[in-house]
Amino acid sequence: MNNLLKLATKELKSNKKMVFSILLSIILVSILINSITTLALSYQDYVVNLCRNKGNWEAQFIQIPYDKLTVLESDERIKEISLIEDLGIFSYNDNSQELLHIKAYDSNTMKNMPILLKEGNLPQSSNEILVNESTLLQIDDSISILLDEKEYVFHVTGILESTDFDEFNTKTFVKTNGAITYLNKDSLTPNSYLTASIVCQDISQIYDCTNDIQSQLNSLNSTPQILYNTELLSYAGNAKSDSTFQTNLILTVSVFIGIVSVASISLIYTIFHIFTQERKRYIAKLSSVGATKKQIAMIYFFEIIILTCIAIPVGILLSFGLVSLLLHVFDNLFTLIQSNISTTLIQNSISLQMVFSWYSIIFSILLIVIIVFFSVLFPIIQISKVSILNTLRENTYYKVTKHFTQVPKWLSKLFKIEGILAYKNMKRKKSHYITMVMSLTISIILFISIYGYIYNLSNYNQYEQHNYNYTLNLADYSPEHKAQEELIEIKKVLQNSGFIEEIHSYANLNPLYLVLDNSKLNDMLKFVDSKMNLLNNSFNKVNEHTSQLSCLVTTLDDATYQDYLSQIDSSLSLSNNECILINYSNAQNKYYDSVCLTNYQIGENLILNTQDINDEKNQEVLDNLSSLVGDSNRQIENKQISLSIKAITGRVPTCLPSFTLTDIYLIVNKDTFSQLFLETVGAEFSDFTNFYIQTSKPNELDELVYSLKAKYENAPIVIESSNLSASQQIEKNEILIKEILLYSFLVFIFVLTIITVLNIVFSSLSMRKTEFAELKAIGMSNRQMNKILFLEGLFYGTISLIIGIFISIGILYFLYHTMINTQVYRFSIDLISIFISIILIYAVIFISILYANKKLYKEDIATIIKTNIT
């Protein structure tokens, strides 16, 4: 055994070029496989951290009595408990227009839950409070509230941008502002009810842990509701949660690893096969002096083990370097944007970090070893069975078999003798032909599939993007609209600022309800049935035959309205009580199919109800809120409104959310809208309050709006804004990152292809040196020889392209079905990717042939022939 090992080592030292090729191939494969697994883990870690940034909790026990908290505290599986006490909703400072919803957070909650503190400090005691900026309170102000007939005074220490428990009731028009104080545990009684959010030591134990705690609490006659942070748990891969993310991640990783594995086996097999064939005579000589098949096989196995042991660690280390570099680049991309982000966007304050586990490394190593083993197994078996005599006699590499293909007549007519020679050369050795075609085909498939997938994803996402990047809410909430002058002034300032490129506005009534027979529901019914997870609350199956749709009666500002009408029909105009029914979920365009919602026709009447069929539940909420504002006995009355359909379209006005599958938009003129507003709300419709702006200077506009807020802080007006440009940029960046990753992957596969093709071409030309010399001796010119090589390249490229393009389209369609909402987005193929792949493949082949030709054919004919003879 020692001698075989020594022989193997000697052989490796004497075949440096080939050894380098094999080493390089295994290193490349190691880099690819380990990079894929590491990137997947890093990405998962990143999204989990993003989720934790939005709220670091895994499960919540709602309304758990304080004295039962010991059950949680004694469980060793729990790492951290965050407590919230909901103190209630209060009016404050005798303010009847706004209420305060106060929650008390302990220190853990302050740390773990997102608190959008605009200025000031977090409360440190139970008489300190954070309030919403829309309360117009300042730091150091005081608030007095009545709780259990006792007056409590809070001292404002900080101003919040908003909380996730701010509310505006559309029926009572009462705004409830969130406020946060400090939870003083000393003030808690055994009957104080808390929300306890927990984080486990190991996230995979969350369900077992909560189930055990629940059992214990049940035995103590306590049954708090348990909520799970399903988003976090699913991203973390918790088995009992929604596994869509995990499944998609594993599927994606598996697909990429599968592709890399096939490409790698092809590459390593080719190189190793050439390696063994070149030493066939040497092996024959070994056999002739008594080496057994097993011993010969062992020599090769030792060689490959030595190479693998060197290449795998190098490859894995390099892959970590590469992944770190990639993530560093992505992180910088995010940082560049973060410097312009408004403080309301917190989700990208997480850094991208490389994460790996020993399991992933072991998995990568095992996979690489398996790939290498499968690649070399067949050549080793072949070479160990070599016939001594035939090998020593044989002076050509290629052994042409009996069943040799005939050349198609059209080919020999078109390309003449060069075509015949090229075609036959291509087909003479099945294994080389298959390897070459397979390598090229895999590259083509990968290129077109990945390029096409990115193309589909970008187009899909473009449609998701709005054509505005800034929103503004301007409203006069004084009872008799006394602040109209201020509003006009504000609008003037904004319009004259030069920051606004386009501005649109629309106004909705509260949702009205259309009860209709299911026969009136068209594709939507089938769509909803098949995509239940996309249901929104507006679609309601009343019974087997009847459904309820929510309708948004909408009007537009004058300019947007006129523009919209002219887009549908240049002669279209709406009279009172007429509407345009937007009957398609998406306007039909280059990328999207539309889902037709209803079967209504022009001229039909729609009878809309002001009351939701589920209004019994709503009444209870309304009663509670009404009593808080001292306005009891408000009842919901149902009114019926009739609108006649003047036009039916799929086109959505510029500023309306474009992607809706179950909401019905009804566009009416301003007069109709004002009339309906009066009927349903009981007040006059004064003016548009929501503005959708396209600006090229969102940050400057932000500063202007803040300055206006400060200027008019004492006026009874609402000025709220939202800078969407950063979040839109983030979405674009996410696509950019995916593109960078995928294109990087493509580059690697391309490199693998080049190495494979170069190896095959090099070895093929090298082995056919004598043959070409013979052809030249008979009278073939250099031009004719180049034509043969050119035609070989052309044939390989064309066959691979035909197979590759065909399979790529199939794969694209499969990806389209699994990863994109196919109900609305139309499948399309990017012809540019096909064109580029054609150019690239032929370029790879011809450059390889040119390079090999230049390197190999330096000697004259006679020398080559003489070398063959001797």
């Binding site: 050509t396 040799f404 003798i417 036959k424 009278g779 250099n782 003489k866 063959n868």
Partner: protein, 228 residues
Amino acid sequence: MKILEVKNLTKIYGNNENSVKALDDISFSVEKGEFLSIIGASGSGKSTLLHILGGIEKPSSGTIFVNNKDIGTLTDSQLAIYRRRTAQLIFQFYNLIPILNVKENILLPILLDYKNPDDARLKNLISLLGLQDKENSLPNQLSGGQQQRVAIGRCLMANPSIVLADEPTGNLDTLNSNEIITLLKEYNTKFQQTILLVTHDIKIAKQTNRILTLQDGKIIKDEVQIHE
């Protein structure tokens, strides 16, 4: 009529101290229809001479006129045409193209010239070579003698001015060797084909019209054979 004229031909391999003079200032001429053999010991320069005459190797100095044309002035593409149409080589190891069958190998020079082959002539030639039932066979399905006959057939099909045979029987047994020489003689006699044959076998050489003896790159003897 002189078909070949060699003047002061020299071929030196290597340079300075390591140089070897394979041919040393040789001159001779060949008439059309001659069957000339070139003999000599190993390393005498026979194959080198043939390779230079066949246009697959370049001389260090001297001139070679074939059909009154100096082949030393030909470009690479002109040399390829020269090899295709004027001077055809037959090698010791046949050097057939393994992926082409017998018919295709024989027709190869014609096909390289983009000409339509004369099917009648091809048939006659194949018949003459005794390969009627081997037309579609590949070289690895033929015996050594059959392969050499294909090589000769390829040569003759091109109808060259000169046939240059470099030890065509070197790899064959006696029976096949005799067959090959007979074939060559027949072609020489029937069609006045000029043939230069390199051999180390004096018995084969004696079957030709003229024997040129080389030693250390020089012609030491040039004798005409008279056969009855």
